[in-house]
Symmetry: none
DNA sequence: TGGAGGGGTTTTCTTTTTGTAACCGCGAGA
DNA sequence: TCTCGCGGTTACAAAAAGAAAACCCCTCCA
């Protein structure tokens, strides 16, 4: 899941981005309103985290322009406690949720999870495909009851495929939602990660879940959704 | 679906063409305005993607000449964000849509889908012919509920026939829409692919869907019955 | 400060797909 | 019925896509 973080204070931005990446989110950072609008226009984010206090256009204005441009993306507003404003509380700026600073990081994560869930028509917290189970809340994966240790990127990729289980997912989609703007489309990084996932998820199991559709992308499904 | 991509920057062109081909579009590339006009004159494209910034004739001029020549083909303009122009926004250059660079690839795909759909009065995402189902979004094909594995070219050909189910499709049409300009009209490649499709789609089913009309082309229809 | 691990790159190897070509067989018209 | 030609079939070569392996670099932490 890919997030745009709009925060002008560099150290806060760095810290949050780091924490989010640790949670396997792909994060792009914008430090002002215009940059944020530009990024949001270019990429398809799953969530925007928007600090209200920004140089130039403030958070309210950014949110307004986003909505005016037809963007459906969920927006989480951040505001200082002493600057809470009726507009924020009423969420009538077009935002979907807000959080007061300073906040506990786990609290932020909880809000993010809730918004993301809402954004994809309430997908369950635990995704099951055959005997593969992904607990997206605990970020825990098990295959046939046995725990599978995945790195953050591996997890993010698997979760993205799992949420679209049974569909052929184009590599452009993967690049878009699992990696951030620094992804090099000519690298074979996706193949490399698919291979790492196969080793951890499919190796030693007779039913493989990760299938290649040459010229199209990858599918996560038992049997690949057709008899080969 | 056949697309003419007009883009002079080689790496951008290569990247876009690759991504589009991944989505089973047949893509021709032109690197300047005159080349584009020539190609568009010779071939029948379903869509033209036109960068405005071109050496020689620019995108506006190319579009104008295209329209002057009576071309109805949908045109999607690409423009740099900092070069947005009233002419672009007003779409009064004869273009049907525009997109600012750099853009998100999925966004491009969405625009392409929208334009292609607009041109053909709302094509559905799922095409059904008898017990053959093509889910064009998930890129899955099934016959009688059973998944059918098709390569990229096979899929493109079947989709083209399916969209024109019941019609006799001339091999010249097939060559134009499923292959690109490098197609050798003296080869029997189409026959080869029809055969491959028959093996995967019709074999083992009593009602055949792929029928030959000698001297005319092929039809995808149950029983091959159609109004003459 | 050094080593382990995660993320990313590069290179090489393997498999699949695409395209070519030669040959076969059937159907329509003579 | 015979023949010609269109299309079908099959085999194979070339090219592309993907898999695998090895390697690099950076960060974090003991």
């Amino acid at each position: 899941m890919r997030i745009l973080l709009v925060e002008d204070e560099p150290s806060a931005a760095r810290m949050m981005a780091k924490g989010l990446r640790e949670q396997a989110y792909a994060v792009d950072v914008a430090s002002d309103g215009d940059g944020a609008l530009y990024q949001a226009g270019v990429n398809d984010y799953d969530l925007v985290i928007l600090d209200i206090m920004l140089p130039g256009k403030d958070g309210f204005e950014v949110c307004r322009e986003l909505r005016a441009g037809g963007a459906q993306v969920p927006v989480l507003m951040l505001t200082a406690l002493d600057a809470i404003d009726d507009r924020v509380q009423g969420l009538d700026t077009g935002a979907d949720d807000y959080l007061t600073k300073p906040f506990d990081f786990r609290e932020l994560l909880a809000h993010i999870r809730a918004l993301l869930r809402r954004g994809q028509n309430l997908q369950p917290d635990v995704i099951k495909v055959e005997d593969l189970e992904m607990d997206t809340r605990a970020r825990q994966v098990r295959r046939g009851g046995r725990g599978v240790y995945l790195t953050a990127k591996e997890y993010a990729l698997l979760e993205y495929l799992a949420r679209r289980a049974g569909e052929v997912v184009a590599r452009s989609d993967i690049a878009e939602h699992v990696w951030d703007e620094s992804f090099d489309p000519f690298s074979n990084l996706i193949e490399v990660y698919i291979q790492r996932l196969r080793r951890k998820v499919d190796d030693g199991h007779s039913t493989k879940l990760l299938h290649t559709r040459r010229g199209a992308g990858y599918v996560l499904a038992p049997g690949g959704d057709f008899d080969v």
